[in-house]
């Protein structure tokens, strides 16, 4: 995934200087705020809440419906572009060698997100790849300022590993903030994809959807 950030206007340098002056003070409390801003990975129940917000809870839906509902909620246009690479084996080969199954590009300037996936992917992988990229949009992963000082380390304690970052701007569907660690953002996007696939298939047979009508 990648983000085309908003072009800076004339106020940019002034704000950047202010931010530079503020940084030493903000860093004083950074360790504390990091520990405070942590959460666990998304659960299926929490995802059901997101579906309820989109109006898809308890309904059978396709990834297209999820994409449309998410786009409407976030007020952005989401385009999914399936690359017809099976006509061009060399393109398929290059895509496969790159190790990427899909790519998400987001432009804040035009409120538009585009997902690119090779058409030669097996149907299940294609579906999950698209849902994975949509999961990044739902989580607001593209709206954070990546923390350059944050290092992913296996030795870190669980709470530090699950540190989150606040959004710099924009809107997200998820209740929690995105994770600082990229590996966790990817894991959560995978989880969202699998929850979405099952929720869409099961519709009103989804036990998590039942729980929203059975709160006592």
């Amino acid at each position: 995934m990648s983000v085309d950030v908003l072009k800076r206007d004339l106020t940019g340098p002034f704000l950047a200087r202010l931010a530079g002056l503020w940084r030493p003070f903000s860093n004083l409390g950074s360790a504390r705020s990091r520990v405070d801003g942590s959460r666990s990975l998304l659960t299926a129940a929490e995802f059901q809440e997101e579906l309820a917000i989109l109006g898809l809870s308890g309904r059978r839906f396709e990834p297209e419906d999820y994409s449309d509902a998410l786009g409407d909620y976030l007020n952005i246009s989401i385009g999914v572009h399936v690359i017809p690479d099976s006509w061009y084996p060399e393109l398929s080969r290059r895509l496969a060698l790159s190790g990427l199954l899909g790519e998400l590009r987001y432009s804040e300037q035009v409120n538009m997100a585009a997902i690119f996936v090779p058409g030669s992917l097996p149907p299940l992988v294609l579906t999950l790849t698209i849902l994975h990229e949509l999961g990044h949009l739902a989580a607001g992963d593209l709206l954070i300022e990546p923390d350059e000082e944050f290092e992913e380390d296996d030795q870190q304690d669980e709470k530090a590993k699950h540190t989150t970052l606040p959004l710099k701007r924009g809107k997200k569907l998820a209740r929690g903030n995105p994770f600082a660690a990229e590996s966790l953002r990817e894991r959560e996007a995978n989880l969202r994809a699998s929850y979405a696939l099952f929720a869409g298939c099961l519709g009103d047979e989804n036990p998590y959807a039942h729980d929203m009508y059975d709160v006592l």
Binding site: E49, E62, G119, L128, S194, P207, M212, V215, L216
Partner: protein
Amino acid sequence: MSAAQHQALVLGSVSFVAFLVFLCFLLTNRRTKFSVFAACNLLFVALMFGAVALVDLSGGRAEIMVAVMTELPIVLIVAWVCLALAGGLPVQLGNLPAEPVARRPWLRTTLGSAPLVLLLSVGLATIVGLIWPSPALRVYAPAPTQFLVLKASIMAPEGLYAGFAALVFVMAARAPRLKRRFYFKNLAFAVGMACIASIALESTVFAGLRVWLGGEGRRAILETLNTLEACLAITCILAFTAGLSLRYTPAVATTLLYRLQTGWLRAQEQFESLEWRAVSSGAADRLTHASDAVVAACRLKDLSESDTQKALATIRLVAVMKDPSGETQHITPGAARKLYELQEEILCDDVLASKISWAAGWRSRAQEPQTVKSAPLHDALKAALDLVDNHGEGEGVRTPPLWHYIVAVSAADAKMIDPSHVSMQLRDGAEHSAAAEAYDAARRSLRKLDDHV
């Protein structure tokens, strides 16, 4: 026995019977966290009213304390219900909000504030009562204005929150495509909460009448209101009992779903994506020619598109398993067998097997979606395992389809598997000969095509 003791006896008996009913829930599989909480509260209310009925506690500040204590359990139940609807309970108690609340942040905030507001109102009422004691337990005695303030400060927020909760339950019951049982369950809870809201309103009116009403008809009006309160309390308890007794067992268990989400789906995606990478990047060298020949042979024998795809998936799997690269080292016969078993587990569950499907492409609703059974990988896994990792089980029992023979012949020809093993496993029969002929013809035509190019 005074009128106050009589009223306490009635309400105490109702609460005790309700406690016994809820106790029955606790002893069965219909127990929920809420039913445990409600039973504890009902027992507490029954004991409080029982104490008032047995001992004349009227007079002074003790009367106020007892009156507030009898209100507290109902306040706690309303707070719990509101918090449960807002999804604000701790995770262990279930923290999913009601569907109509999840879509309305303002409603969520309002309901979430219930415990704080209600407890503050109880605190305020206690302070008012302790500063200006009033005959709170003597139900028909004239009362000062402070009594109305005491009563209203508890009842107004309680009635408001109970009314909101009733509204949410009605909204939940009206959801489209809702299971019949959930419809009645939410409706029952809506009636229960509406009764609590009505009792709150009735109590406030009752307090007002005690302050301002005089004359001959006063007692009769207050007695009528007391009877109404008892009826509302009984209706409320019956409604909650009905709601809690309606249980719905989902066709798909949460634990199974979790296992499939983290087990089967992840394994199948990993399998298919790694295979795609291996095939697309040309990592499995011997595959290209073999797969072209397999497809051509299937077409020569007029096999269906579905069988051709299964044959293609099988030859790809055999190639990847027999020629593992760095990326495809996870596609092993052991992993394939595990994935196949998970798929079989889904197929054993009729509801799951019929529901789990995925589109054959993006925005391709016209095409038939794939299921665990119809996706080529399921049969391909079995066939590939038979060819690569057959330990003799099931031999001679099963007659493989023609596409299986074509793949076997092709894999043997491409030196992916031992040809003698194929002959032994599949037995030289009519199907095997037909497959071999088709494969040879396909190879010849492909060679001719290559020569022309």
